[in-house]
Every structure is written in structure tokens, then in C-alpha cells.
């Protein structure tokens, strides 16, 4: 991608809804709320948009061809409309599709939106259908059983403790207090409270898990020819990477401890962006962490510390708002999780940090930010955004 053929591309506008249980709005209204906020923030209208990419997991609300039904709300009337549904990654896949459609030279300005209204449907029923119908559904235990089993592997490898995981859960909900869009904002949450919360599946407590939310998030990506006209400080795309793993849930060895796809995607993205020391060179990261333990495992696999040292990152305060590399100043997935929008929120937050739009949870002087999406079967998307236009 660092080639003369790729058009340099930037995020020029971002928008998101207040997330949570949004009984006041339909799913289409949520999507439009995020789109309008993104467009209005830079004085854009739908006239300026060449194509739209929509991300949503349609089994959650039971609407087939949801992009076609909501075409008006999505601002895609008369335009190319791409619909992606790639699981937890979908919001990031949507952002990456926007990038490719601009960087390829095909379009100048592309709108991407991720949206979900989990209170409309049955989250458990939808997640059950993630399992292979022939091989996996007969013995499934839902997302929580799956994450708990993965956490056990990670604990066996790294020796991370329930207290360290609980600290992650606390940090997320406290950070969320500085983010007006976040769902779970808990200023007074303590490690003890997490450890005493209901045990869902050993060792995962209720407060170790992400919530189910309603919400939407949107971006506009633009080519270098027009990005500067739209935003004084665009968030330039320095690297994107998508990497998968094998097909079934039990395929990847030590799946949460050694996250093959995350490591592969990070290696590719760092190489493109010229990052040798992510802990030093990145200024902020928005990591897609569905459970407390996962964040530490992901930080290890992203190279923020040595493998097995995830617990130290939280004990030593490395990833707090004031730390060397703040991770999820927005509160992350542990605070807010409208599935189809969740990974798009990571991209919106990373872009906001670069553009200086993050408000109370703004990290000072962000030059380089990383966002990830994770889902499907160990499927990873990474995007690295920066203040400077990338060099050829």
C-alpha cells in the first residue's frame, strides 16, 4: 500500500451517537444520527459523498438486507452502497473498505457507518448462529463460555490474575466517565466490585464483560486532493491490515494467548507505517476488547509489552490516560458495545484523538493512533492514523 498507485487517504469527519439503551430512536434513526453528526461537523452534505459503506450484523435485529431497507437513512440513494457483515470486526472492516475505495482512486469521498440496536433483538440467539451449524452449535456455550475458555488459556500462559483483569474493567468504566457517548459510565467502580460481581463463566465476572448497546458511528474518508479542504487536521491513514485465522473456533492453538491474526495484522501494519517500537511510537490505541482479560492479551500481541507481561501493563499504569501509551481513553468495548458500530467507534475515537476532537478524554499531542477490530473467528482489522500525511 505504500506505493505510488495508492491515493493517500484521510479520515476527515467523524460522528457517533450517545450509546446505550436507546429506546427513543429506531435503528435507522440511530444510523442517521451518527451520519448527520459526521457530515455536519465539517459542513458536508450527502451531495459531497460518492459512495457509502454500511456495517451491521443483521441477525441481531432480524432484518435481512438491512442496507436496502435503510438506504435513505444511510444516505446512499443513487450511490454505490456496500454492505459488510463481518462480525465484531464489521465496523473496522467498514472503515477499511472506505479506505480501499478512496485509496484505489475509485472514489473521492466515501461515507462509512456502523450501526446496531441490540435492544431490538436477541443477542444470544444471534451469537448462537455464529457457530458452525454442523460442527459447533450442538455444544455451544455462547460468547461468554467461549471467552471464558479463551481466558483460561491466557491465564495458563501468562499468569495474569483476576485482580489484574478487574483493574482493566475498572479503568474502562472510569475512562468512560470522560466520554459523553459511552454506555457504562461508573465513576465509583472498584476492583472488589468487579470481583464480587456475578460469576458468568469461570473466571469471567459480569463486570469483566462488555455490555450490549444500541448505537452508531460514522466516518468520512477523503482523498489527498480534497482532504485538506474538508478538515484543517485530517487523520491520515498510515496503514491498514486485515488478517484471518482458520475456520473453526478450536483451530487456533492457544487462541487468546497467541493471537495469530492480531500478531500478523500488527506486523503488517507496523511495517507499512514504519513502526518499530509501538509502545514508544504510538500515542494512543483504541483496542477492540470484548472482555477484560482480552485487553491484556491483545496488548501483548500488539507488541506493547513482552508476551506474558500483560498484567504488568495494568499494574504499572502504562495504559492509563496518563500512562506511556493510553489504551481506550474512550472506555473501549467494555463500556460500549453496539456490535455493528463497536469497531467503527474504535476508528472514530482514534481519528478524534489525531484530529484533537476527543474532548475531555483527549490525549495531548497525538501524532499516531492505532485502532483494531476483532471478531468472526479470530479475525483482525487494524488501522493506523496519523497527523502527518504519510511519506511515499
Amino acid at each position: 500500500m505504500k506505493s505510488l498507485d495508492a491515493v493517500r487517504t484521510a479520515v476527515v469527519a467523524v460522528g457517533q451517537t450517545e450509546h446505550g439503551r436507546r429506546l427513543d430512536a429506531s435503528m435507522a434513526e440511530l444510523a442517521r444520527e451518527a451520519i448527520d453528526r459526521a457530515l455536519d461537523s465539517k459542513g458536508l452534505t450527502l451531495e459531497d459523498i460518492d459512495a457509502v459503506v454500511a456495517g451491521n450484523m443483521e441477525m441481531f435485529e432480524g432484518i435481512y438486507l438491512v442496507d436496502q431497507l435503510f438506504v435513505g437513512a444511510l444516505g446512499a440513494l443513487g450511490k454505490p452502497l456496500y454492505k459488510l457483515n463481518t462480525g465484531g470486526t464489521v465496523g473496522a472492516s467498514t472503515a477499511l473498505a472506505c479506505y480501499h475505495l478512496v485509496a484505489s482512486g475509485r472514489h473521492e469521498r466515501v461515507l462509512g457507518v456502523g450501526f446496531q440496536k441490540q435492544s431490538d433483538g436477541s443477542t444470544q440467539a444471534a451469537i448462537t448462529t455464529v457457530g458452525d451449524p454442523v460442527w459447533e452449535r450442538a455444544v455451544m456455550a455462547g460468547a461468554i463460555g467461549n471467552f471464558a475458555s479463551m481466558a483460561s488459556t491466557y491465564i495458563a500462559e501468562s499468569g495474569v490474575t483476576p485482580e489484574q483483569a478487574a483493574k482493566v474493567a475498572v479503568l474502562a468504566r472510569r475512562n468512560a466517565c470522560l466520554n459523553p457517548y459511552a454506555h457504562l459510565r461508573m465513576p465509583d467502580i472498584t476492583v472488589e466490585e468487579v470481583l464480587e460481581s456475578e460469576m458468568l463463566a469461570y473466571p469471567i465476572h459480569r463486570l469483566d464483560m462488555c455490555p450490549s448497546s444500541d448505537g452508531a458511528a460514522a466516518i468520512v474518508m477523503a482523498s489527498e486532493d480534497v482532504a485538506g479542504e474538508i478538515a484543517d487536521q485530517p487523520a491520515w491513514v498510515h496503514a491498514v491490515a486485515t488478517v484471518h485465522d482458520q475456520q473453526y473456533m478450536g483451530d487456533s492453538p492457544k487462541r487468546l494467548a497467541v493471537m495469530r491474526s492480531l500478531r500478523g495484522a500488527a506486523a503488517k501494519a507496523y511495517s507499512i507505517a514504519g513502526i518499530d517500537y509501538p509502545l514508544r511510537q504510538l500515542d494512543v490505541a483504541e483496542v477492540y476488547e470484548p472482555a477484560s482479560y482480552a485487553l491484556l492479551a491483545m496488548c501483548e500481541n500488539l507488541g506493547f509489552c513482552a508476551m506474558g507481561d500483560g498484567g504488568r501493563l495494568i499494574d504499572d499504569g502504562v495504559i492509563t490516560m496518563e500512562g506511556q501509551l493510553p489504551v481506550n481513553p474512550s472506555g473501549g468495548v467494555l463500556a460500549t458495545n453496539p456490535v455493528g458500530a463497536t469497531a467503527m467507534i474504535r476508528v472514530v475515537e482514534a481519528a478524534s484523538q489525531v484530529m484533537g476532537l476527543a474532548g475531555e478524554h483527549q490525549i495531548p499531542d497525538v501524532k499516531l493512533a492505532l485502532a483494531t477490530g476483532y471478531g468472526g473467528n479470530a479475525w483482525t482489522d487494524i488501522i493506523i492514523l496519523g497527523r502527518q500525511r504519510p511519506r511515499r
Partner: protein, 168 residues
């Protein structure tokens, strides 16, 4: 025009969540999944012979569940090998949240054990139920063994293995 419900304002900007209406609907989807040539052979061997079969490519990768192509080598998997019934826990948990069993529509009793089992001879693992509910007795690396349902109860499904039993 008279207002149908005076509590819901005509101006949408004055609308708030207390006035929000929800509409109940059931979306029911029914499927007949073709199991295909790999699963058909696998489930026949499981039901009739109590054997667990995996697929192997010519580099020696052994994949469970069996499948047409090995993702690691990209090679077709045209050999069958028997794996298990013993294995090692690669991941495990005790689940306390109620879960509707997708095959039966019935809530599975809690708590129950759930684990990722690396069957002896296989390079990948499968999820299955464990016959243990004490979190202190399970653990990554512990040995387990498949416990089959009696022949007459088997239907040709992964549930023909009732659960995995901890050996140590």
C-alpha cells in the same frame, strides 16, 4: 386531524423515551443444513462405531473437524485418521449463565463445564461439554476422555459424545 395519543407530541423534537413504543415480533427461521461428505462420514463413524475421525493432508496436518482443505497448507485433505478418544484441555470454564441450547431450544441446566479439547493425534481442538462443575478441578493441560452415549441413543451429532470426563 385529532391526535391519536395526546402523550406523543406532534413535534418529533419533543419526543422522549417515555413515549417510545416497541413492537413485538418473532422472526423464525428454519434450515435444513446439508452436512456434506466430510461430516456425513464423520457422524456415521461416531454413531455406529464410536470413532472420532479427523482429516489429514499429505504434509501430515490433522484437522478436527475434518474438512476439504487444510487452511495452513492449502492442500486438500483426502485421508482419514482416527483421533482421541483421549485428549488434553486447551481451554476450559464452568458456565453459570443460562443458555438456550440451539439444538433443542431448551435451557441447559447450570452450572456446566465447557472446554476446548485437543484430541490425541489432532492438530486442532473442538469445544465440548465437561462432566465437572468445580472450577478448581479443571485446568489447561489436564487430560480428558470422550464419554459416548449408548449406541441406541446416538443420532449422528456431536452430542453423541455426551461430554468429556476429566482423567486426573
Amino acid at each position: 386531524m385529532s391526535d391519536p395519543d395526546p402523550r406523543v407530541p406532534a413535534d418529533p423534537r419533543e419526543f422522549n423515551r417515555e413515549q417510545a413504543r416497541r413492537i413485538e415480533q418473532q422472526v423464525t427461521l428454519h434450515y435444513r443444513f446439508a452436512a456434506g461428505k466430510y461430516a456425513s462420514r464423520f457422524f456415521a463413524a461416531l454413531r455406529d462405531e464410536g470413532k472420532i475421525l479427523a482429516s489429514r493432508d499429505r504434509q501430515g496436518n490433522v484437522m478436527m473437524p475434518p474438512r476439504p482443505v487444510c487452511g495452513l497448507s492449502g492442500l486438500p485433505m483426502d485421508e482419514w485418521v482416527e483421533v482421541g478418544p483421549g485428549g488434553v484441555l486447551a481451554g476450559c470454564t464452568i458456565v453459570y449463565v443460562p443458555f438456550i441450547d440451539p439444538m433443542t431450544g431448551v435451557q441447559r441446566p447450570v452450572p456446566y463445564g465447557f472446554g476446548l479439547v485437543r484430541l490425541d493425534g489432532a492438530d486442532t481442538s473442538i469445544y465440548h461439554l465437561l462432566d465437572e462443575t468445580d472450577p478448581q478441578r479443571i485446568g489447561v493441560g489436564k487430560r480428558v476422555e470422550a464419554v459416548f452415549k449408548p449406541v441406541q441413543e446416538r443420532t449422528g451429532s456431536l452430542a453423541d459424545i455426551r461430554h468429556f470426563r476429566l482423567l486426573d
